[in-house]
Amino acid sequence: MAKKDKRMSIQEAVQLINDGDMITFSGFTIWRRPMAIVYEMVRQRKKNLHLIEVNSGTHGEVLIGAGCVKVLETCWIGHELYGKVGANAARKLKSGELLIEDYSHVHMIMRFAAGAMGVPYLPTRASLGTDILNPQYDVLGKYGLRDGSNPRIPRRKFEFLADPFFGEQGDIIHVPAARPNVCIAHVQQVGDEGTVRVFGQRYSDAEAIKAADKVIVVAEEIVPEEVIRQEPTANLIPHYLVDAVIEQPWGAHPTGCFGYYEVDGQFIRDFYNKTRTQEGFDAWAEEWILKVNSFDEYLYKIGFRRLDTLRANSSYKYSTRVKRGA
């Protein structure tokens, strides 16, 4: 069913997210993460979220540090070159405030593909022989969350089967579908009816969006549908799958956005260094989230000069002016 009246504010969009919801995101590690929404989620003090992601990154660390997250299902969390682990996730795991369910990258992308395709699982042969498959390390099972009371949490972490078709030897792993309540996506362009266009690598965006029941799209630019529809093969998601549309330039900062801006590595490194303790996180969040009322104010605080250095060259699609390396 196609929906109407999709344009709204960031504040309104975040009200579509309920405490306890299972949430997923666009992007990859430190690329094209919906940071403007994530900051507002912290401001609105969302609680007991169940993050399910192919991989996590800086946005996940913000939500986890702020105490919004109860469960993280993923294959990875960190900040790439700018912070080698997810320090907030590690701290809250140790303290028991967070559960982390480990799957591999292929397991997670297949879980989202299953969700997107409307089947309860997909088969794979990736990561046999690893402790990811160790039944003693079924975290949600150990904590009693696989009892069927939450219909979005599968009753098993994996299933092992044999191939009846080609006589192939060895186990096939079935991974359960990812079925999030909400996908929050940051993309480059969205049409005013909701058609989504992503430039550059599309990561697992299509699967994440299609697997979710509600879809919030933040775009660098809202553009006329009649323009975005001139090249439909370049579009990723049809308008009828999108519930909320928000225009927020720089809305993925400090993560990068192909064709628009570079990763702000210095900002992420600073976040990583400062938020390795809870006190550090709280101070950082006070400064960068709670004391600023809106994402526009956050951008003003970062400053034009810095943002402009991150701005992508229109041919290369990344900044040639940002200082990288030693």
């Binding site: 990859f28 690329w31 192919v54 991989n55 294959c75 990875w76 969390i77 790439e80 080698k84 682990v85 997810g86 996730a89 590690a90 795991l93 140790k94 028991g96 799957y103 591999s104 990258h105 292929v106 397991h107 992308i109 794979t124 042969r125 990736a126 990561s127 046999l128 022989g129 690893t130 402790d131 990811i132 160790n134 039944p135 003693q136 390390y137 975290v139 150990k142 994996f158 092992f160 192939e168 030897q169 060895g170 186990d171 550059g200 690598q201 599309r202 990561y203 697992s204 965006d205 699967e207 990068g256 192909f258 990763v263 590595g265 290369y316 699609k317 990344y318 990288r324 390396g325 030693a326």
Partner: protein, 272 residues
Amino acid sequence: MRNNHSPAQPGEYKLIELLAVAGAREIQDGEVVFAGTGLPMLAVTLAQKTGAPRASIIYEAGSMDGRPAHLPSSVGDARCEYRASVSSGLFDVFGQLQRGVVDLAFLGGAEIDRYGNVNTTAIGGDYYHPAVRLTGSGGNPDINSLARRTVFIMVQEKRRFKEQVDYVTSPGWRVKKWPGGEWVTRREAFGSAFRGGPVAVITSMAVFRFDEETGEMYLDTVHPGVTVEDVENNVGFDLDVSRCRGETPPPTYHELYLLRNVIDPEGLFLGR
């Protein structure tokens, strides 16, 4: 007489340059390589500019055979897809990996055991409350599972070369077969999906390979200036050093020129 293709002398190159060169030499021309961020990028790009001009690189965020004008800082970087054959996403590239397209993988790890089992998940304490929680697997076990050969590049420290790793993130030559947990060979665990496994571990001190019969790691070459004893002192298990072939061949001047002036002039991974 010294020329561009002469080996450089100790002191004329950095360790990371040696590692990149050693990595590049693992790549055959025409191969499809799946590479992670950092040293693997240096190695693959160097190989393309030397002995393997027709090698193709897949980065897991979705780019195939990019020809970057500037070294990427991440597999998700826009730089990866500059002049790529195709740029799409994870479902596509991991599907190709599972289909058997990938010849060689370059990966890293925090801990490794004698069979090449690698840990990038958690160290110390117990799994539920580890002393050190790492990033988790990423694509490491998938890529290592499904490529024909894997090369690991790691820091050499005794605490990282362990009798048994605290968590098997990425499978070596002897692994546990789940859900039962019995130790079996990699070939048994993978069955028809078996394609090969780790062929080399390139560290800050040496290059290791694996015995085809037993799947155990042995010392292949030591880097210039490192002794066999140095290596033994930095390995936490009994290491077969009997097959050591001598020194890891150092970079040539040409390779160093390419690394410093063409591949990473910004010093992104090589530093200054």
